[in-house]
């Protein structure tokens, strides 16, 4: 979707913090093309 807009989708490691602890997951998000 971000093609041509100067943005691209990238896989991101994001942290999740709950009462039971912290862990990371891999998700997709767009960002400015670098």
């Amino acid at each position: 979707a971000a093609e041509g807009t100067g943005r691209k989708w990238e896989q991101k490691q994001v942290q999740i913090k709950t009462l039971e602890g912290e862990f990371s997951v891999t998700m997709w998000a767009s960002d400015d093309k670098k």
């Binding site: 979707a1 994001v14 039971e20 767009s30 960002d31």
Partner: protein, 443 residues
């Protein structure tokens, strides 16, 4: 009716009208337009969770179920197919963040109580739901803040159309900027003896009605000179000295080459009536200015002194070649003494001894704008441009949109350009803090 104070509920309103709203990507001037292609149904976000007994402010994960302008219908993870707890959020204003924001900001993700009891292993549950899913762009709120910075501030002087005599401009001073919309005070009657505002005008900073200081003289447009006794510099409302606006602060219009075959005085065309924006009328070029601007008069209603001529740029949506209305099944408003049913252009041109402006001079390209009839939006009533109202796209013809103001009679409908800076996505008023006028009466 002030919908901001009354809390106009776009969500319930859209539910009744079929959830159709123009997407943010249709509005090039709107905040986050360039990023909005990345916002879609199914996207996961972290959002404030109020279904908890904890005292701390906690969040939980939700998915976008539906999008309507800046508004999103969200459903908390764990409610599965149960839509009874769905809630509307404005993605531009609410406490909504990309996944990962809570951890970075030392906030906890806690499910609503009734879901919490059903989940045995929270980590496994979230891993299953989140891995490989999409979330908001990392820079979402940064881009939003960036797009809300404007090249105008209080105290900048501009030239703007004189609403009491549309053929000329007047000097005005920016008093307020909200979401790129300017509240302008006419310089020669801006403030009374006790500081009260006598006459103001609202328009977006990209409006074709507002120009840099010196524009009128440059293109040959008439301007009302400010009297010698006016000095707004000293008024306490303006904390800094007044500053003249300059060309680069304004939208650059499509370049027009004014060769031998440009518009000429007397040529006929069809034009949106500037004083009745729901009508497209038989009109004439009255004067050719520089830089691609022309003065247009509406045939049959002109007073004769030119005071009702209106300035249009050659690239304006509001001037159209003869026959455009007939070709597109739009009722053409014909001059007094003629009947719409029997009016024909060839006969009229012959009777008036005039010629039609060449069709290639007009900017009628269909630009694939994305609007369709029935879409809801927030739109300025251009006859009372202070007001941003709940509206519906009634018709799309090329680049023209016929807007209906919800709750009002069709006679108040207005033709606007699909790229008009005076139309906004659902939720724009909430983001900018501008007052939204709710529909009048029961819909």
């Amino acid at each position: 009716q002030d919908a901001t104070l009354a809390g106009f509920d776009w969500g319930s309103y859209l539910e009744k009208s079929g959830y159709l709203a123009a997407p943010v990507t249709c509005f090039r001037h709107a905040p986050l337009c360039a990023q909005w292609d990345d916002i879609c149904v199914g996207l996961k976000v972290e959002v404030l969770n109020s279904y908890t007994t904890l005292h701390a402010k906690v969040y939980w994960i939700a998915s976008i179920v539906l999008l309507a302008g800046y508004k999103a219908l969200l459903r908390f993870e764990g409610f599965e197919d149960d839509d009874s707890r769905d809630f509307w959020c404005n993605l531009g204003t609410a406490d909504v963040h990309p996944i990962g924001w809570c951890a970075v900001n030392s906030k906890l993700l806690v499910p609503p109580q009734e879901i919490h009891q059903k989940i045995e292993d929270l980590k496994s549950y979230l891993m299953e739901r989140l891995v490989g899913a999409d979330t908001l762009p990392v820079d979402f709120h940064v881009k939003m803040a960036d797009s809300m910075r404007f090249a105008f501030r209080q105290g900048i002087r501009v030239e703007v159309v004189d609403r009491s005599q549309v053929r000329r401009t007047r000097l005005a001073v920016v008093d307020t900027v909200i979401g790129g919309r300017l509240r302008l005070l006419y310089e020669d009657e801006g403030l009374g003896a006790s500081g009260e505002v006598l006459s103001d005008f609202w328009c977006h900073m990209q409006s074709p009605l507002v120009h840099y200081v010196g524009w009128s003289e440059r293109v040959g447009h008439s301007i009302k000179r400010t009297g010698p006794n006016v000095n707004m510099d000293t008024h306490p409302a303006f904390r800094k000295p007044l500053q003249d606006s300059v060309p680069h602060q304004f939208k650059r219009l499509r370049t027009v080459y004014m060769g031998e075959t440009f518009f000429e005085k007397g040529m006929k065309l069809e034009a949106v009536d500037p004083l009745n924006l729901g009508n497209i009328c038989v009109a004439s070029v009255r004067k050719v200015l520089l830089d691609g601007y022309i003065m247009v008069g509406i045939d049959g209603v002109e007073i004769g002194d030119g005071s009702d001529w209106f300035c249009y740029h050659a690239s304006s949506y509001a001037i159209l070649p003869v026959g455009y209305c007939q070709d597109n099944n739009i009722p053409l408003t014909v001059p007094t003494g003629y009947v719409q049913a029997t009016f024909t252009w060839p006969k009229y041109l012959e009777e008036t001894g005039t010629v039609a402006a060449p069709g290639r001079l007009f900017n009628t390209d269909d630009i694939g704008h994305g609007f369709t009839s029935g879409m809801k939006l927030e739109a300025v009533d251009l006859m009372e441009p202070r007001l941003v109202c709940v509206a519906t796209v009634r018709r799309c013809v090329g680049r023209l949109l016929l807007l209906h103001f919800d709750g009002w009679e069709p006679e108040f409908d207005q033709w606007v350009d699909c790229q008009s800076p005076e139309i906004y996505p659902v939720g724009w008023c909430e983001i900018t803090g501008y007052q939204l006028q709710a529909p009048i009466g029961p819909e």
